[in-house]
């Protein structure tokens, strides 16, 4: 045979080789360093065993494994009162004692709900699910303070978890008609005579498009389309009252039609800004405080092409070069949940009573089910100021103050950590009471340190295991409890 006969084969060969080489590069084991980064940022913490396992996988395989563990429901059984909806009572019709008792009960439920979610975060086999549920809770904000009915906050939490790694379009539709959201953003009771603009504005500004991509006119017209919805507080059901709905023709983003709630939401998702807005937010959660515009456009494309399925977007984000880039290491500030849940999971603390930790989260600025306002938690540098930094370090110091099995009870709810809120004495007393019971917490320091102690390179490995950057404190930390203390109190431990 002559060379000419081989030509077609050769023509095929180079592209095939290129594909093979690219495939080979992608199939490269990610190594320990990248595995640790992925696990810390996506799953609160990274045990050495997990790092070992994931280090043998490629980036794609690792992320696919994490995604395969995602669950649409929590594992920890919720508090028993979540099973039925209790009609809220009119406090004004009660005697003083009855009102006190009712308020105490409402407070108790609110605390129980937080404790439940915290317990889920601590024990879930899919921490990525909880990370994303919390992310969406800070995005599609509703707050207990305004919604009041704890049962509805629980239901919304279920909706968020169900869709957290599902489809954004489906989540948007579900959240818009979620009773807690209907109450929080005043859609409930908005009627055609005087449409309430709150949800219309926030769904554009904060939930899908971001400022500057809509006009005031669009808000007014969208508000008309959102009329007619209500929440029957007697049974917690959502109702739609056609007579209160403005069924007229609306003009939205230059389009004309008899739009209703669903139509408005779909119109929002037709705008290219929506995918970019969400991609940028996820970037700031997982990659760095400063989204790369070119990368955001690429990720938005992926998101749109997947018709708003969240997993492909997350997969693209968590396998991107930017995620693993050295320049982006340690540029994200751990949220109070990251810090606390991360530390408890990392060191495999046995927690008997979540209540004191839930109070601590609130002290540090992240009260579950209660973002400070509709913009959610600002995050980033905002987590760290003089009061919160001292609070964070105090907490860490106490976690590692005791050898082997330590009792955190007194420490957690003593003077320094107690809620200092004049005028909220009910909450303070209740939190203290909760924290007083079985606040024990155990840490097996010898067991956890064993691997590091056995290794000749233990000090360096310990530092690499706990910090995303070289420690600021120059003196090397040895693999002892004191060494752990030194590392978790290092400023670099506040970052991920």
């Amino acid at each position: 045979m002559s060379a000419r006969d081989f030509e077609p084969c050769i023509r095929l060969l180079f592209p095939l080789l290129a594909i093979l080489l690219a495939g080979f590069a992608c199939a490269q084991p990610m190594g320990r360093d990248e595995a640790r980064l992925l696990l810390t940022r996506s799953s609160f913490a990274a045990s050495e065993g997990e790092v070992d396992q994931f280090s043998a996988l490629s980036r794609e395989q690792a992320v696919d494994r994490l995604l395969s563990w995602v669950k649409p429901e929590a594992s920890v059984p919720p508090p028993p009162w979540t099973a039925t909806y209790d009609r809220p009572q009119r406090e004004t019709l009660m005697s003083l004692e009855a009102r006190e008792a009712y308020r105490k009960e409402q407070l108790r439920r609110a605390l129980e709900l937080r404790a439940w979610w915290f317990a889920e975060m601590l024990t879930t086999p899919s921490p990525l699910t909880e990370k994303l549920t919390l992310f969406w809770h800070g995005h599609f904000v509703s707050a207990q303070q305004k919604v009041r009915i704890t049962h509805l906050m629980y239901r919304q939490n279920q909706v968020l978890r169900h869709h957290a790694l599902g489809n954004f379009r489906a989540m948007l539709h579900a959240i818009a008609r979620d009773p807690a959201m209907l109450i929080y953003l005043d859609t409930a009771g908005s009627r055609s005579e005087a449409p309430n603009e709150n949800f219309a504005r926030e769904v554009m500004e904060l939930f899908t498009l971001g400022e500057g991509h809509y006009a005031e006119r669009d808000i007014k017209e969208a508000a008309r389309a959102l009329t007619g919805w209500g929440v029957n507080r007697d049974n917690g059901e959502v109702v739609f009252r056609p007579r209160q709905h403005d069924a007229g023709v609306k003009t939205l983003f230059g389009r004309v039609g008899r739009y209703d709630m669903d139509a408005v939401l779909d119109l929002l998702l037709e705008k290219p800004e929506a995918a970019e807005f969400i991609a940028a937010k996820l970037w700031k959660e997982f990659v760095s405080p400063t989204p790369d515009p070119v990368e955001i456009r690429r990720l938005a494309s992926v998101f749109r092409n997947a018709d708003y399925e969240i997993q492909p977007l997350l997969r693209a984000l968590l396998t991107s070069g930017a995620f693993y880039a050295q320049a982006n290491r340690g540029t994200l500030v751990k949220s109070p949940v990251d810090l606390l849940v991360g530390t408890l999971r990392e060191f495999r603390f046995q927690v008997n009573e979540p209540a004191p930790f839930v109070a601590a989260l609130r002290q540090l600025g992240q009260d579950l089910f209660n973002p400070p306002n509709v913009k959610g938690w600002p995050g980033g540098d905002a987590w760290i100021h003089s009061a919160s930094l001292l609070g964070r370090k105090l907490l860490l110091e106490r976690l590692f103050r005791f050898e082997q099995s330590g009792s955190m009870a007194a420490a957690m709810q003593g003077g320094d950590m107690a809620a200092i809120e004049p005028g909220r004495s009910d909450a303070r007393k209740s939190a203290r009471a909760q924290g007083g019971m079985n606040g024990a917490i155990e840490f097996d320091s010898d067991g956890w340190l064993a691997g590091f102690r056995a290794s000749p390179d233990g000090a360096r490995q310990l530092s690499a295991a706990l910090l995303p950057l070289p420690p600021v404190q120059a003196l090397a930390a040895q693999p002892t409890l004191a060494g752990i203390r030194q590392l978790v109190l290092d400023p670099a431990y506040q970052l991920k």
Binding site: T331, N373, S386, A387, L389, L390, G391, I420, P422, L489
Partner: protein, 390 residues
């Protein structure tokens, strides 16, 4: 231009926004360096104090008509003039009134008021418009435009609360503490480091440095002869005075008196709280006089809102709008300022219209007290209320 940089530029240039005839006078005041030897003490009346029962319009029949059970009986009111009088629990403030050092600023509120505690206090703390969401406290922006002396222990100290309120946001050196001993103990967790690393790390190191500077500047223990009230608020006042006693200095201290959200059983609750307030203010005056700082002090109360004119069915009042606030200090021009809103012109919720925007009161603190520009930090021109003697 990013809004914050825009404001800083105005502040740094020492300019006021154009138009107002008095602007030349204001501009020349602003050009002089800020006088941070003068101290601002903020007293937060958390929960929303009922102003109507504090400075009582005892000659107004509408007051008694709206509050058949809650109104302070005419004979109990400590009459200040032929229209208004003090709630009896504020008797301890009468000497200040007689000395002409107690200013009563009536009708303080803002347009399109919000009746939610959380939202409304956010509006007050960030000096935002009612439909605007700002991150930084008004004092954070003020100090960004006109920095406090580098040697100060901190820009401001928040006593008894983790919520930085007017000092929220980055770029300000604000410390929250319960008492100075506890703070000094905890501050050892902030160890000395260089200032290096990526932006996030640099921020953390800076906060640590601020904490250490505050700790080294707040370690004085002054033996006051003043007897501070033996209750939570009295402790907070004492802590504030300990902070102020340090030569290193701070520009502002905030204390909080809570429990004012009197939806029920208002009479005894407010009576006790106003007593605490009066006793606390008297203690401040006494302790600051010991420190020779009373003439350098401006004390201002504030709250998220006042309360509904009409009493409710539980012996209390629901959330309201504009209210009266107190100002006192060695250079305060005592007397009535602003205007008691009419009880006959109520809005749809039964609430009064405001007479003075709270940002005008802030403008007084910034321009008349410290001599720094207020337009930039407050996002507009708010004419100061003249309760500070020049």
């Amino acid at each position: 231009m990013h809004r914050r940089k825009f404001l800083q530029w105005f502040g740094a240039a020492g300019m006021t926004l154009p138009a107002a005839p008095g602007c030349f006078a204001a501009a020349s005041k602003a050009a002089a360096p800020a006088d941070y030897r003068r101290l601002l003490i903020l007293v937060e009346l958390k929960g929303g104090n009922d102003g109507l029962n504090t400075i009582v319009p005892y000659a107004d029949l509408a007051y008694y008509a709206h509050r058949p059970r809650l109104a302070i009986p005419r004979e109990q009111v400590l009459q200040l003039d032929d229209r208004f009088g003090l709630h009896p629990s504020l008797a301890a403030l009468l000497p200040l009134w007689k000395d002409g050092r107690l200013a009563l600023i009536q009708g303080v509120g803002y347009p399109t008021p919000n009746l939610s505690h959380f939202r409304s206090i956010e509006i007050w703390d960030t000096a935002s418009k009612s439909d605007e969401y700002l991150q930084d406290g008004w004092l954070t922006r003020s100090f960004a435009a006109a920095a406090t002396p580098r040697a100060f222990a901190a820009d401001g100290v928040i006593v008894g609360s983790n919520e930085l309120g007017p000092l929220a946001g980055n770029g300000t050196r604000a410390i929250a503490l319960n008492n100075t001993e506890q703070f000094l103990r905890q501050a050892r967790l902030a160890a000395p480091h260089g200032l290096a690393g990526n932006r996030a790390l640099a921020h953390i190191l800076k906060v640590e440095a601020d904490i250490r500077q505050a700790a080294s500047g707040l370690d004085a223990r002054f033996d006051f002869r003043t007897e501070f009230p033996k209750n939570d608020f009295g402790n907070a006042v004492k802590t504030a005075c300990q902070v102020i006693a340090n030569p290193a200095g701070v520009a502002v201290v905030r204390v909080t008196l809570g429990g004012f959200d009197t939806h029920q059983n208002q009479l005894p609750v407010q009576a006790r709280l106003l007593q605490d307030l009066a006793d606390g203010i008297v203690a401040f005056r006494s302790a600051l006089t010991e420190l020779s700082r009373w003439d350098d002090t401006l004390l201002l109360t504030y709250a998220e809102f006042g309360r509904r004119v009409r009493e409710n069915m539980s012996g209390g009042t629901d959330h309201g709008t504009a209210s009266v606030h107190l100002a006192t200090g060695g250079r305060v021009a005592g007397g009535f300022h602003g205007e008691q809103p009419s009880l006959a012109q109520l809005d749809g919720e039964g609430n009064v219209q405001h007479a003075i925007d709270f940002r005008s009161v802030y403008a007084t603190a910034l321009e008349r007290w410290w001599g720094i520009p207020s337009d930039g930090p407050l996002g507009g021109r708010f004419t100061p209320v003249e309760f500070v003697k020049t």
